[in-house]
Protein backbone atom coordinates (compact mmCIF):
# COMPACT_ATOMS: atom_id res chain seq x y z
CA UNK A 1 0.00 0.00 0.00
CA UNK A 2 1.55 3.31 -1.01
CA UNK A 3 1.68 5.80 1.75
CA UNK A 4 2.00 9.46 0.89
CA UNK A 5 2.33 10.59 4.41
CA UNK A 6 1.07 14.07 5.06
CA UNK A 7 3.44 16.07 7.17
CA UNK A 8 2.17 15.87 10.68
CA UNK A 9 2.12 19.26 12.33
CA UNK A 10 3.36 19.62 15.87
CA UNK A 11 0.74 19.06 18.50
CA UNK A 12 -0.95 22.26 19.54
CA UNK A 13 -1.27 22.44 23.31
CA UNK A 14 -4.89 22.52 24.30
CA UNK A 15 -4.49 25.67 26.35
CA UNK A 16 -2.85 27.75 23.62
CA UNK A 17 -4.78 30.95 23.25
CA UNK A 18 -6.18 31.90 19.88
CA UNK A 19 -3.66 34.65 19.39
CA UNK A 20 -0.75 32.37 20.10
CA UNK A 21 -2.17 29.77 17.77
CA UNK A 22 -2.36 32.33 14.98
CA UNK A 23 1.20 33.39 15.61
CA UNK A 24 2.27 29.77 15.57
CA UNK A 25 0.60 29.18 12.23
CA UNK A 26 2.19 32.27 10.78
CA UNK A 27 5.59 31.17 12.01
CA UNK A 28 5.09 27.78 10.44
CA UNK A 29 4.45 29.39 7.04
CA UNK A 30 8.05 30.29 6.23
CA UNK A 31 7.26 31.94 2.90
CA UNK A 32 4.60 34.19 4.40
CA UNK A 33 6.96 35.14 7.18
CA UNK A 34 9.67 36.04 4.69
CA UNK A 35 7.18 38.13 2.74
CA UNK A 36 6.11 39.90 5.92
CA UNK A 37 9.70 40.89 6.64
CA UNK A 38 10.08 42.02 3.03
CA UNK A 39 6.91 44.10 3.28
CA UNK A 40 8.16 45.80 6.44
CA UNK A 41 11.44 46.60 4.67
CA UNK A 42 9.61 47.95 1.62
CA UNK A 43 7.27 50.10 3.70
CA UNK A 44 10.14 51.48 5.77
CA UNK A 45 12.11 52.18 2.60
CA UNK A 46 9.12 54.00 1.15
CA UNK A 47 8.52 56.05 4.28
CA UNK A 48 12.16 57.03 4.71
CA UNK A 49 12.86 57.33 0.98
CA UNK A 50 14.18 60.92 1.20
CA UNK A 51 16.79 59.85 3.75
CA UNK A 52 17.81 56.63 2.06
CA UNK A 53 19.07 58.03 -1.21
CA UNK A 54 21.30 61.01 -1.87
CA UNK A 55 19.55 61.61 -5.18
CA UNK A 56 16.54 63.79 -5.90
CA UNK A 57 13.96 61.80 -7.92
CA UNK A 58 13.08 64.90 -9.95
CA UNK A 59 16.58 66.40 -10.59
CA UNK A 60 17.46 65.89 -14.21
CA UNK A 61 21.00 65.61 -15.44
CA UNK A 62 21.67 65.70 -19.15
CA UNK A 63 25.16 64.29 -18.74
CA UNK A 64 24.10 61.01 -17.13
CA UNK A 65 21.12 59.97 -19.28
CA UNK A 66 20.01 56.31 -19.69
CA UNK A 67 22.96 55.01 -17.74
CA UNK A 68 22.90 51.30 -16.96
CA UNK A 69 23.17 50.29 -13.30
CA UNK A 70 26.59 51.03 -11.78
CA UNK A 71 28.10 51.71 -8.38
CA UNK A 72 26.81 55.28 -8.17
CA UNK A 73 23.35 54.76 -9.64
CA UNK A 74 22.51 51.25 -8.41
CA UNK A 75 19.58 50.87 -10.77
CA UNK A 76 20.85 53.26 -13.44
CA UNK A 77 19.28 56.50 -14.64
CA UNK A 78 16.37 57.34 -16.89
CA UNK A 79 16.12 59.36 -20.08
CA UNK A 80 16.44 62.61 -18.15
CA UNK A 81 19.37 61.39 -16.09
CA UNK A 82 17.30 60.96 -12.92
CA UNK A 83 18.42 58.29 -10.49
CA UNK A 84 16.17 55.24 -10.68
CA UNK A 85 16.69 54.12 -7.07
CA UNK A 86 15.30 57.44 -5.89
CA UNK A 87 12.49 57.40 -8.43
CA UNK A 88 11.48 53.82 -7.65
CA UNK A 89 11.51 54.49 -3.90
CA UNK A 90 9.32 57.55 -4.37
CA UNK A 91 7.16 55.59 -6.80
CA UNK A 92 6.63 52.81 -4.28
CA UNK A 93 5.69 55.44 -1.74
CA UNK A 94 3.10 56.95 -4.04
CA UNK A 95 1.83 53.52 -5.10
CA UNK A 96 1.39 52.24 -1.57
CA UNK A 97 -0.15 55.49 -0.41
CA UNK A 98 -2.67 55.70 -3.25
CA UNK A 99 -3.48 51.99 -3.01
CA UNK A 100 -4.05 52.30 0.70
CA UNK A 101 -6.14 55.44 0.33
CA UNK A 102 -8.41 53.94 -2.27
CA UNK A 103 -8.83 50.74 -0.27
CA UNK A 104 -9.60 52.75 2.82
CA UNK A 105 -12.18 54.90 1.06
CA UNK A 106 -13.75 51.98 -0.79
CA UNK A 107 -13.56 49.64 2.18
CA UNK A 108 -15.13 52.18 4.52
CA UNK A 109 -17.98 53.06 2.17
CA UNK A 110 -18.50 49.42 1.22
CA UNK A 111 -18.68 48.31 4.84
CA UNK A 112 -21.23 50.99 5.68
CA UNK A 113 -23.36 50.00 2.71
CA UNK A 114 -23.08 46.29 3.44
CA UNK A 115 -23.91 46.65 7.13
CA UNK A 116 -26.81 48.98 6.37
CA UNK A 117 -28.18 46.48 3.87
CA UNK A 118 -27.94 43.68 6.41
CA UNK A 119 -29.42 45.66 9.27
CA UNK A 120 -32.21 47.55 7.56
CA UNK A 121 -34.10 44.92 5.60
CA UNK A 122 -36.01 47.51 3.60
CA UNK A 123 -32.86 49.04 2.17
CA UNK A 124 -31.31 45.65 1.42
CA UNK A 125 -32.72 44.98 -2.01
CA UNK A 126 -32.18 48.46 -3.34
CA UNK A 127 -28.62 48.76 -2.04
CA UNK A 128 -27.48 45.37 -3.22
CA UNK A 129 -29.01 45.82 -6.69
CA UNK A 130 -27.14 49.10 -6.90
CA UNK A 131 -23.97 47.23 -5.93
CA UNK A 132 -24.64 44.67 -8.68
CA UNK A 133 -24.83 47.45 -11.22
CA UNK A 134 -21.66 49.02 -9.92
CA UNK A 135 -19.95 45.65 -9.94
CA UNK A 136 -20.68 45.40 -13.64
CA UNK A 137 -18.44 48.36 -14.34
CA UNK A 138 -14.93 47.16 -14.96
CA UNK A 139 -12.49 49.25 -12.91
CA UNK A 140 -10.61 50.21 -16.04
CA UNK A 141 -13.79 51.70 -17.55
CA UNK A 142 -14.38 53.71 -14.39
CA UNK A 143 -10.82 54.91 -14.58
CA UNK A 144 -11.18 55.88 -18.23
CA UNK A 145 -14.47 57.64 -17.57
CA UNK A 146 -13.22 59.53 -14.55
CA UNK A 147 -10.06 60.53 -16.35
CA UNK A 148 -12.29 61.66 -19.21
CA UNK A 149 -14.40 63.83 -16.93
CA UNK A 150 -11.73 65.21 -14.60
CA UNK A 151 -8.69 64.94 -16.80
CA UNK A 152 -5.74 62.71 -15.88
CA UNK A 153 -4.45 62.71 -12.29
CA UNK A 154 -3.57 60.57 -9.30
CA UNK A 155 -6.79 61.40 -7.46
CA UNK A 156 -8.87 60.28 -10.42
CA UNK A 157 -7.16 56.89 -10.25
CA UNK A 158 -7.63 56.65 -6.48
CA UNK A 159 -11.27 57.53 -6.89
CA UNK A 160 -11.82 54.93 -9.62
CA UNK A 161 -10.13 52.24 -7.56
CA UNK A 162 -12.11 53.20 -4.47
CA UNK A 163 -15.41 52.99 -6.34
CA UNK A 164 -14.53 49.62 -7.80
CA UNK A 165 -13.70 48.37 -4.29
CA UNK A 166 -17.09 49.31 -2.85
CA UNK A 167 -19.37 46.57 -4.27
CA UNK A 168 -17.31 43.50 -3.33
CA UNK A 169 -16.61 44.90 0.14
CA UNK A 170 -20.31 45.62 0.58
CA UNK A 171 -21.08 41.99 -0.27
CA UNK A 172 -18.50 40.65 2.15
CA UNK A 173 -19.64 42.99 4.93
CA UNK A 174 -23.29 42.20 4.35
CA UNK A 175 -22.67 38.47 4.51
CA UNK A 176 -20.69 38.83 7.73
CA UNK A 177 -23.25 41.19 9.26
CA UNK A 178 -26.18 38.93 8.40
CA UNK A 179 -24.51 36.26 10.51
CA UNK A 180 -24.80 38.53 13.54
CA UNK A 181 -27.98 40.47 12.94
CA UNK A 182 -30.32 37.59 13.67
CA UNK A 183 -28.54 36.36 16.77
CA UNK A 184 -30.39 36.30 20.08
CA UNK A 185 -28.03 38.66 21.82
CA UNK A 186 -28.84 41.39 19.33
CA UNK A 187 -32.53 40.97 20.02
CA UNK A 188 -31.65 41.16 23.70
CA UNK A 189 -29.54 44.27 23.16
CA UNK A 190 -32.42 45.89 21.33
CA UNK A 191 -34.80 44.90 24.09
CA UNK A 192 -32.48 46.59 26.54
CA UNK A 193 -33.05 49.78 24.63
CA UNK A 194 -29.72 50.05 22.89
CA UNK A 195 -30.00 52.33 19.86
CA UNK A 196 -29.33 51.22 16.30
CA UNK A 197 -26.06 53.05 16.14
CA UNK A 198 -24.77 51.54 19.38
CA UNK A 199 -25.78 48.05 18.27
CA UNK A 200 -24.17 48.46 14.86
CA UNK A 201 -21.04 49.83 16.37
CA UNK A 202 -20.65 47.39 19.24
CA UNK A 203 -21.78 44.14 17.72
CA UNK A 204 -22.22 44.22 13.97
CA UNK A 205 -19.23 46.23 12.79
CA UNK A 206 -16.85 44.36 14.99
CA UNK A 207 -18.02 41.09 13.54
CA UNK A 208 -17.54 42.29 9.98
CA UNK A 209 -14.12 43.71 10.62
CA UNK A 210 -12.16 40.48 10.16
CA UNK A 211 -13.85 39.51 6.91
CA UNK A 212 -13.55 42.98 5.45
CA UNK A 213 -9.92 43.34 6.48
CA UNK A 214 -9.02 39.97 5.00
CA UNK A 215 -10.82 40.82 1.77
CA UNK A 216 -9.16 44.21 1.55
CA UNK A 217 -5.75 42.65 2.16
CA UNK A 218 -6.42 40.18 -0.63
CA UNK A 219 -7.42 43.02 -2.90
CA UNK A 220 -4.47 45.28 -2.18
CA UNK A 221 -2.27 43.74 -4.87
CA UNK A 222 -4.98 43.90 -7.49
CA UNK A 223 -5.71 47.53 -6.72
CA UNK A 224 -2.04 48.43 -7.14
CA UNK A 225 -1.90 46.62 -10.47
CA UNK A 226 -5.02 48.39 -11.71
CA UNK A 227 -3.67 51.73 -10.58
CA UNK A 228 -0.40 51.00 -12.36
CA UNK A 229 -2.26 50.09 -15.53
CA UNK A 230 -4.24 53.31 -15.41
CA UNK A 231 -1.19 55.44 -14.89
CA UNK A 232 0.64 53.44 -17.55
CA UNK A 233 -2.13 54.46 -19.96
CA UNK A 234 -1.38 58.08 -19.16
CA UNK A 235 -4.44 58.62 -16.96
CA UNK A 236 -2.38 59.30 -13.84
CA UNK A 237 -0.22 62.21 -12.85
CA UNK A 238 1.61 63.69 -15.86
CA UNK A 239 5.17 62.55 -16.72
CA UNK A 240 7.67 64.13 -14.40
CA UNK A 241 5.92 62.54 -11.41
CA UNK A 242 7.46 59.39 -10.01
CA UNK A 243 4.44 57.11 -10.49
CA UNK A 244 5.61 53.59 -11.28
CA UNK A 245 3.12 53.05 -14.11
CA UNK A 246 3.97 56.38 -15.69
CA UNK A 247 7.68 55.59 -15.40
CA UNK A 248 7.22 52.33 -17.27
CA UNK A 249 5.23 54.07 -19.94
CA UNK A 250 7.96 56.71 -20.31
CA UNK A 251 10.68 54.06 -20.51
CA UNK A 252 8.80 52.06 -23.12
CA UNK A 253 10.28 53.94 -26.05
CA UNK A 254 13.80 53.25 -24.74
CA UNK A 255 13.42 49.47 -24.63
CA UNK A 256 16.06 48.98 -27.29
CA UNK A 257 18.71 51.34 -25.95
CA UNK A 258 18.07 51.28 -22.20
CA UNK A 259 15.62 48.51 -21.25
CA UNK A 260 16.28 49.01 -17.54
CA UNK A 261 14.41 52.33 -17.54
CA UNK A 262 11.11 50.53 -18.16
CA UNK A 263 11.92 47.19 -16.57
CA UNK A 264 13.14 48.45 -13.17
CA UNK A 265 9.80 50.01 -12.16
CA UNK A 266 8.07 46.95 -13.66
CA UNK A 267 9.94 44.63 -11.34
CA UNK A 268 9.38 46.96 -8.40
CA UNK A 269 5.62 46.71 -8.99
CA UNK A 270 5.86 42.96 -9.41
CA UNK A 271 7.74 42.59 -6.15
CA UNK A 272 5.32 44.68 -4.09
CA UNK A 273 2.27 42.99 -5.50
CA UNK A 274 3.80 39.55 -5.05
CA UNK A 275 4.52 40.30 -1.41
CA UNK A 276 1.00 41.61 -0.89
CA UNK A 277 -0.62 38.66 -2.66
CA UNK A 278 1.27 36.03 -0.70
CA UNK A 279 0.51 37.82 2.55
CA UNK A 280 -3.14 38.24 1.57
CA UNK A 281 -3.41 34.50 0.96
CA UNK A 282 -1.77 33.76 4.28
CA UNK A 283 -4.10 36.18 6.05
CA UNK A 284 -7.09 34.50 4.48
CA UNK A 285 -5.90 31.02 5.40
CA UNK A 286 -5.29 32.06 8.97
CA UNK A 287 -8.15 34.38 9.79
CA UNK A 288 -11.05 33.68 7.50
CA UNK A 289 -10.93 30.70 5.18
CA UNK A 290 -14.41 31.47 3.91
CA UNK A 291 -13.59 34.68 2.07
CA UNK A 292 -12.89 33.82 -1.53
CA UNK A 293 -10.98 35.97 -3.86
Amino acid sequence: MTDQNVALPALVPADASRGRQLLRRLLRDKIALFMLVLLVVIVLAAVFAPFLTPFDPYRTSLRSRNMPPDLVHWLGTDEQGRDLVARVLFGIRLTLASGFTSLFLGGFTGTIIGVTAAYYKRADNLLMRAMDVLLSFPAILLGLAIAGIWGPGTWGIIFALAISTIPPVARVARAAALGVVNQDYLVAARALGLGDFAILHRYVLRNCATSVLVYVTLRFGQVILLGASLSFLGLGAPPPSAELGTMVSQGRSLLFTAPHVALVPCFALFLIVLVLNVLGDAARDIFDPKVQQ
Binding site: M1, T2, D3, Q4, N5, V6, L8, P9, L11
Partner: protein
Amino acid sequence: MNMVDPKPTAAIMAAESAAMASEAAPAEEPLLRVNRLRTSIATERGRMTVVNDVSFEVRAGRTLCIVGESGCGKSITSLSVMRLLPKPQGRIDAGNITLLGRDLTTLTEHQMHAVRGHEVSIVFQEPMTALNPVYTIGDQITEALLAHERCGRHEARSRVIAALREVGIPDPERRIDTFPHELSGGMRQRVVIAMALICRPKLLIADEPTTALDVTVQAQILELFRQLRDSHRMGLMLITHDLGVVAEMADDVMVMYAGRVVESGPVASIFNNPQHPYTIGLLGSLPKITERQGRLSIIPGTVPNLMAPPSGCCFHPRCPLSTERCVADAPPLAVVRGPHRSACWLAPLD
Protein backbone atom coordinates in the same frame (compact mmCIF):
# COMPACT_ATOMS: atom_id res chain seq x y z
CA MET B 1 -18.75 -17.38 35.73
CA ASN B 2 -22.27 -18.42 34.76
CA MET B 3 -23.04 -21.84 33.49
CA VAL B 4 -24.50 -22.17 30.02
CA ASP B 5 -28.26 -22.26 30.17
CA PRO B 6 -29.17 -25.96 29.96
CA LYS B 7 -32.48 -25.23 28.20
CA PRO B 8 -31.87 -23.00 25.19
CA THR B 9 -34.90 -21.22 23.85
CA ALA B 10 -36.57 -22.28 20.68
CA ALA B 11 -35.17 -19.30 18.82
CA ILE B 12 -31.60 -20.21 19.60
CA MET B 13 -32.25 -23.77 18.56
CA ALA B 14 -33.61 -22.50 15.26
CA ALA B 15 -30.65 -20.21 14.81
CA GLU B 16 -28.21 -22.94 15.58
CA SER B 17 -29.77 -25.38 13.21
CA ALA B 18 -29.76 -22.72 10.51
CA ALA B 19 -26.16 -21.99 11.26
CA MET B 20 -25.27 -25.63 11.14
CA ALA B 21 -27.08 -26.07 7.85
CA SER B 22 -25.11 -23.27 6.32
CA GLU B 23 -21.92 -24.63 7.82
CA ALA B 24 -22.61 -28.08 6.52
CA ALA B 25 -24.01 -27.48 3.05
CA PRO B 26 -21.48 -25.29 1.20
CA ALA B 27 -17.93 -26.21 1.98
CA GLU B 28 -16.98 -23.74 -0.72
CA GLU B 29 -14.51 -20.94 -0.15
CA PRO B 30 -16.18 -17.69 1.02
CA LEU B 31 -16.37 -14.85 -1.53
CA LEU B 32 -14.63 -12.48 0.77
CA ARG B 33 -12.41 -13.29 3.70
CA VAL B 34 -11.00 -10.39 5.68
CA ASN B 35 -8.27 -11.43 8.03
CA ARG B 36 -6.98 -9.26 10.90
CA LEU B 37 -7.45 -6.02 9.03
CA ARG B 38 -5.93 -2.90 10.55
CA THR B 39 -6.54 0.49 8.93
CA SER B 40 -5.40 3.89 10.06
CA ILE B 41 -6.10 7.48 9.08
CA ALA B 42 -3.67 10.37 9.39
CA THR B 43 -5.20 13.37 11.12
CA GLU B 44 -4.02 16.83 12.10
CA ARG B 45 -2.95 15.40 15.43
CA GLY B 46 -1.41 12.10 14.44
CA ARG B 47 -2.22 8.69 13.02
CA MET B 48 -5.36 7.08 14.31
CA THR B 49 -6.13 3.37 14.03
CA VAL B 50 -9.79 3.25 13.07
CA VAL B 51 -10.13 -0.43 12.19
CA ASN B 52 -8.27 -2.81 14.45
CA ASP B 53 -7.84 -6.56 14.06
CA VAL B 54 -11.09 -7.08 12.18
CA SER B 55 -11.79 -10.46 10.57
CA PHE B 56 -14.95 -11.68 8.83
CA GLU B 57 -16.26 -13.64 5.87
CA VAL B 58 -19.01 -13.11 3.33
CA ARG B 59 -20.42 -16.12 1.45
CA ALA B 60 -22.27 -16.26 -1.85
CA GLY B 61 -26.00 -15.65 -1.49
CA ARG B 62 -25.65 -14.63 2.15
CA THR B 63 -25.85 -11.28 3.92
CA LEU B 64 -23.43 -10.04 6.52
CA CYS B 65 -24.58 -7.01 8.45
CA ILE B 66 -21.99 -4.84 10.14
CA VAL B 67 -23.57 -2.89 12.99
CA GLY B 68 -22.39 -0.16 15.29
CA GLU B 69 -22.67 3.51 16.17
CA SER B 70 -21.29 6.17 13.82
CA GLY B 71 -17.52 6.34 14.00
CA CYS B 72 -17.04 2.70 14.97
CA GLY B 73 -15.11 1.86 11.79
CA LYS B 74 -17.89 0.27 9.70
CA SER B 75 -17.48 2.53 6.71
CA ILE B 76 -13.69 2.48 6.85
CA THR B 77 -13.88 -1.31 6.80
CA SER B 78 -15.92 -1.23 3.60
CA LEU B 79 -13.68 1.40 2.03
CA SER B 80 -10.68 -0.75 2.92
CA VAL B 81 -12.19 -3.68 1.04
CA MET B 82 -12.73 -1.42 -1.99
CA ARG B 83 -9.27 0.07 -1.48
CA LEU B 84 -10.99 3.47 -1.70
CA LEU B 85 -9.64 4.95 1.53
CA PRO B 86 -9.26 8.72 1.46
CA LYS B 87 -5.94 9.61 -0.12
CA PRO B 88 -3.35 10.25 1.15
CA GLN B 89 -4.55 10.02 4.77
CA GLY B 90 -5.91 6.46 4.78
CA ARG B 91 -3.71 3.35 4.89
CA ILE B 92 -4.12 -0.38 5.44
CA ASP B 93 -1.45 -1.24 7.99
CA ALA B 94 -1.93 -4.97 8.34
CA GLY B 95 -4.13 -7.91 7.39
CA ASN B 96 -5.40 -9.55 4.22
CA ILE B 97 -8.53 -9.02 2.17
CA THR B 98 -9.07 -12.11 0.08
CA LEU B 99 -11.70 -11.75 -2.63
CA LEU B 100 -12.31 -14.81 -4.82
CA GLY B 101 -8.98 -16.23 -3.75
CA ARG B 102 -6.93 -13.10 -4.46
CA ASP B 103 -5.44 -10.83 -1.79
CA LEU B 104 -6.58 -7.30 -2.65
CA THR B 105 -4.01 -5.68 -0.37
CA THR B 106 -1.23 -6.88 -2.69
CA LEU B 107 -2.78 -5.55 -5.90
CA THR B 108 -1.55 -2.40 -7.59
CA GLU B 109 -3.91 0.51 -8.03
CA HIS B 110 -4.16 -0.38 -11.70
CA GLN B 111 -5.11 -3.98 -10.94
CA MET B 112 -7.76 -2.69 -8.54
CA HIS B 113 -9.51 -0.89 -11.41
CA ALA B 114 -10.46 -4.26 -12.85
CA VAL B 115 -11.79 -5.42 -9.46
CA ARG B 116 -13.91 -2.40 -8.54
CA GLY B 117 -17.32 -2.44 -10.11
CA HIS B 118 -16.59 -5.82 -11.65
CA GLU B 119 -16.01 -8.32 -8.84
CA VAL B 120 -17.08 -6.11 -5.98
CA SER B 121 -19.31 -3.03 -6.08
CA ILE B 122 -20.34 -0.55 -3.45
CA VAL B 123 -23.46 1.52 -2.86
CA PHE B 124 -22.97 4.56 -0.67
CA GLN B 125 -25.24 6.23 1.81
CA GLU B 126 -26.06 9.49 0.05
CA PRO B 127 -27.99 8.94 -3.18
CA MET B 128 -28.42 12.70 -3.59
CA THR B 129 -24.72 13.29 -4.15
CA ALA B 130 -23.48 9.93 -5.35
CA LEU B 131 -24.22 10.67 -9.00
CA ASN B 132 -22.40 13.19 -11.14
CA PRO B 133 -24.81 16.08 -11.75
CA VAL B 134 -23.50 16.91 -15.21
CA TYR B 135 -23.97 13.56 -16.97
CA THR B 136 -27.16 11.63 -17.68
CA ILE B 137 -27.74 8.51 -15.63
CA GLY B 138 -27.47 6.49 -18.83
CA ASP B 139 -23.98 7.87 -19.46
CA GLN B 140 -22.89 7.03 -15.96
CA ILE B 141 -24.18 3.46 -15.96
CA THR B 142 -22.85 2.82 -19.47
CA GLU B 143 -19.48 4.00 -18.30
CA ALA B 144 -19.48 1.44 -15.49
CA LEU B 145 -20.34 -1.27 -18.02
CA LEU B 146 -17.72 -0.24 -20.57
CA ALA B 147 -15.05 0.00 -17.90
CA HIS B 148 -15.12 -3.79 -17.66
CA GLU B 149 -16.76 -5.22 -20.73
CA ARG B 150 -16.44 -4.71 -24.43
CA CYS B 151 -19.74 -4.12 -26.14
CA GLY B 152 -21.31 -2.00 -28.84
CA ARG B 153 -23.35 1.14 -28.33
CA HIS B 154 -26.70 -0.46 -28.95
CA GLU B 155 -26.00 -3.47 -26.81
CA ALA B 156 -24.74 -1.24 -24.01
CA ARG B 157 -27.85 0.88 -24.15
CA SER B 158 -30.19 -2.06 -24.04
CA ARG B 159 -28.28 -3.58 -21.15
CA VAL B 160 -28.46 -0.31 -19.23
CA ILE B 161 -32.19 -0.13 -19.87
CA ALA B 162 -32.54 -3.71 -18.65
CA ALA B 163 -30.54 -2.89 -15.53
CA LEU B 164 -32.75 0.12 -14.81
CA ARG B 165 -35.82 -2.04 -15.25
CA GLU B 166 -34.36 -4.66 -12.94
CA VAL B 167 -33.99 -2.18 -10.10
CA GLY B 168 -37.57 -1.11 -10.56
CA ILE B 169 -37.28 2.18 -12.38
CA PRO B 170 -40.45 2.77 -14.37
CA ASP B 171 -40.18 3.76 -18.02
CA PRO B 172 -36.42 3.10 -18.27
CA GLU B 173 -36.28 3.84 -22.02
CA ARG B 174 -37.06 7.46 -21.24
CA ARG B 175 -35.36 7.75 -17.84
CA ILE B 176 -32.02 6.63 -19.24
CA ASP B 177 -31.51 10.11 -20.72
CA THR B 178 -32.44 12.12 -17.64
CA PHE B 179 -30.03 13.91 -15.34
CA PRO B 180 -29.75 12.92 -11.67
CA HIS B 181 -31.40 16.14 -10.44
CA GLU B 182 -34.57 15.16 -12.26
CA LEU B 183 -35.00 12.05 -10.09
CA SER B 184 -36.11 11.57 -6.48
CA GLY B 185 -33.77 10.25 -3.81
CA GLY B 186 -35.18 6.73 -3.97
CA MET B 187 -34.90 6.68 -7.76
CA ARG B 188 -31.32 7.91 -7.57
CA GLN B 189 -30.44 5.17 -5.14
CA ARG B 190 -31.94 2.68 -7.57
CA VAL B 191 -29.76 4.15 -10.29
CA VAL B 192 -26.70 3.78 -8.07
CA ILE B 193 -27.65 0.16 -7.42
CA ALA B 194 -28.19 -0.49 -11.13
CA MET B 195 -24.77 0.99 -11.76
CA ALA B 196 -23.20 -1.18 -9.07
CA LEU B 197 -24.81 -4.31 -10.46
CA ILE B 198 -24.41 -3.77 -14.21
CA CYS B 199 -21.34 -6.01 -14.36
CA ARG B 200 -22.86 -8.65 -12.08
CA PRO B 201 -20.37 -8.39 -9.21
CA LYS B 202 -19.99 -11.38 -6.90
CA LEU B 203 -20.05 -9.17 -3.86
CA LEU B 204 -22.03 -6.03 -3.15
CA ILE B 205 -21.15 -3.72 -0.30
CA ALA B 206 -23.94 -1.41 0.76
CA ASP B 207 -22.89 1.31 3.19
CA GLU B 208 -26.03 2.55 4.94
CA PRO B 209 -27.89 2.44 1.61
CA THR B 210 -31.27 3.42 3.03
CA THR B 211 -30.39 5.83 5.83
CA ALA B 212 -31.08 8.90 3.73
CA LEU B 213 -34.39 7.61 2.36
CA ASP B 214 -38.03 7.62 3.43
CA VAL B 215 -39.35 4.60 5.31
CA THR B 216 -41.45 3.28 2.43
CA VAL B 217 -38.63 3.74 -0.06
CA GLN B 218 -36.30 2.13 2.46
CA ALA B 219 -38.41 -1.02 2.58
CA GLN B 220 -38.56 -1.16 -1.23
CA ILE B 221 -34.81 -0.82 -1.58
CA LEU B 222 -34.17 -3.52 1.01
CA GLU B 223 -36.57 -5.82 -0.76
CA LEU B 224 -34.71 -5.10 -3.99
CA PHE B 225 -31.40 -6.03 -2.36
CA ARG B 226 -32.86 -9.29 -1.13
CA GLN B 227 -34.21 -10.23 -4.55
CA LEU B 228 -30.98 -9.38 -6.32
CA ARG B 229 -28.93 -11.26 -3.77
CA ASP B 230 -31.05 -14.38 -4.21
CA SER B 231 -31.39 -14.21 -7.97
CA HIS B 232 -27.67 -13.67 -8.62
CA ARG B 233 -26.35 -15.59 -5.61
CA MET B 234 -24.47 -12.49 -4.71
CA GLY B 235 -22.74 -11.94 -1.39
CA LEU B 236 -24.08 -8.86 0.39
CA MET B 237 -22.19 -6.90 2.97
CA LEU B 238 -24.64 -4.47 4.49
CA ILE B 239 -23.46 -1.73 6.79
CA THR B 240 -26.03 -0.13 8.99
CA HIS B 241 -26.73 1.26 12.41
CA ASP B 242 -30.37 0.34 12.12
CA LEU B 243 -31.15 -2.93 13.89
CA GLY B 244 -34.51 -3.07 12.15
CA VAL B 245 -32.63 -3.43 8.87
CA VAL B 246 -30.45 -6.13 10.42
CA ALA B 247 -33.48 -8.11 11.56
CA GLU B 248 -34.93 -7.89 8.05
CA MET B 249 -31.85 -8.71 6.05
CA ALA B 250 -29.02 -10.41 7.88
CA ASP B 251 -27.81 -13.98 7.88
CA ASP B 252 -24.81 -13.10 9.97
CA VAL B 253 -24.10 -10.07 12.10
CA MET B 254 -20.88 -8.43 13.16
CA VAL B 255 -21.05 -5.78 15.87
CA MET B 256 -18.25 -3.23 15.88
CA TYR B 257 -17.21 -0.84 18.61
CA ALA B 258 -14.32 1.62 18.48
CA GLY B 259 -12.75 -0.07 15.47
CA ARG B 260 -12.93 -3.61 16.84
CA VAL B 261 -15.31 -6.50 16.46
CA VAL B 262 -17.04 -7.02 19.79
CA GLU B 263 -19.46 -9.74 18.78
CA SER B 264 -20.25 -11.79 15.70
CA GLY B 265 -22.45 -14.68 14.78
CA PRO B 266 -25.70 -15.78 13.14
CA VAL B 267 -28.46 -13.20 13.39
CA ALA B 268 -30.92 -15.25 15.45
CA SER B 269 -28.30 -16.17 17.97
CA ILE B 270 -27.19 -12.57 18.38
CA PHE B 271 -30.70 -11.18 18.64
CA ASN B 272 -31.95 -13.80 21.06
CA ASN B 273 -28.88 -14.35 23.11
CA PRO B 274 -26.50 -11.41 22.84
CA GLN B 275 -23.14 -12.11 24.43
CA HIS B 276 -21.68 -8.62 24.76
CA PRO B 277 -22.97 -5.79 26.98
CA TYR B 278 -22.66 -3.40 24.03
CA THR B 279 -24.90 -5.55 21.84
CA ILE B 280 -27.36 -5.85 24.69
CA GLY B 281 -27.34 -2.06 24.92
CA LEU B 282 -27.95 -1.75 21.19
CA LEU B 283 -30.81 -4.24 21.29
CA GLY B 284 -32.28 -2.47 24.27
CA SER B 285 -32.41 0.65 22.18
CA LEU B 286 -33.86 -1.07 19.13
CA PRO B 287 -36.36 1.29 17.53
CA LYS B 288 -39.49 -0.05 15.94
CA ILE B 289 -38.87 -0.46 12.24
CA THR B 290 -41.62 1.98 11.38
CA GLU B 291 -40.11 4.81 13.38
CA ARG B 292 -37.07 5.97 11.52
CA GLN B 293 -34.93 7.26 14.34
CA GLY B 294 -32.01 4.94 13.94
CA ARG B 295 -29.64 6.76 16.32
CA LEU B 296 -28.80 4.44 19.18
CA SER B 297 -28.25 6.80 22.02
CA ILE B 298 -29.71 4.95 24.96
CA ILE B 299 -26.35 3.54 26.01
CA PRO B 300 -24.94 6.22 28.32
CA GLY B 301 -21.68 7.88 27.30
CA THR B 302 -20.14 8.32 23.87
CA VAL B 303 -17.84 6.49 21.51
CA PRO B 304 -14.27 6.72 22.83
CA ASN B 305 -11.67 8.97 21.26
CA LEU B 306 -9.60 6.74 19.03
CA MET B 307 -6.55 8.96 19.46
CA ALA B 308 -6.45 7.94 23.13
CA PRO B 309 -8.46 4.72 23.49
CA PRO B 310 -9.30 3.55 27.00
CA SER B 311 -7.18 0.84 28.59
CA GLY B 312 -8.31 -2.78 28.50
CA CYS B 313 -11.69 -3.31 26.90
CA CYS B 314 -12.66 -0.22 24.90
CA PHE B 315 -16.22 -0.45 26.15
CA HIS B 316 -15.44 -0.55 29.84
CA PRO B 317 -16.09 3.17 30.54
CA ARG B 318 -19.70 2.70 29.36
CA CYS B 319 -20.22 -0.87 30.48
CA PRO B 320 -22.59 -1.56 33.39
CA LEU B 321 -20.82 -4.87 34.08
CA SER B 322 -17.26 -3.54 34.00
CA THR B 323 -14.76 -5.27 36.30
CA GLU B 324 -11.14 -4.61 37.18
CA ARG B 325 -10.04 -7.14 34.62
CA CYS B 326 -11.92 -5.19 31.89
CA VAL B 327 -9.98 -2.05 32.81
CA ALA B 328 -6.65 -3.87 32.76
CA ASP B 329 -6.81 -6.23 29.76
CA ALA B 330 -8.55 -6.24 26.39
CA PRO B 331 -10.67 -9.38 25.94
CA PRO B 332 -10.09 -11.42 22.75
CA LEU B 333 -12.91 -12.30 20.37
CA ALA B 334 -13.59 -15.84 21.66
CA VAL B 335 -16.08 -18.54 20.74
CA VAL B 336 -19.14 -18.59 22.97
CA ARG B 337 -21.06 -21.29 21.19
CA GLY B 338 -20.62 -22.59 17.63
CA PRO B 339 -20.13 -19.65 15.26
CA HIS B 340 -21.14 -17.12 17.91
CA ARG B 341 -18.17 -15.15 19.24
CA SER B 342 -17.89 -12.34 21.73
CA ALA B 343 -15.09 -10.12 22.99
CA CYS B 344 -16.11 -9.94 26.63
CA TRP B 345 -14.47 -11.40 29.71
CA LEU B 346 -17.89 -12.13 31.16
CA ALA B 347 -19.21 -14.11 28.19
CA PRO B 348 -21.24 -16.21 28.07
CA LEU B 349 -23.74 -13.80 29.59
CA ASP B 350 -26.90 -15.57 30.59
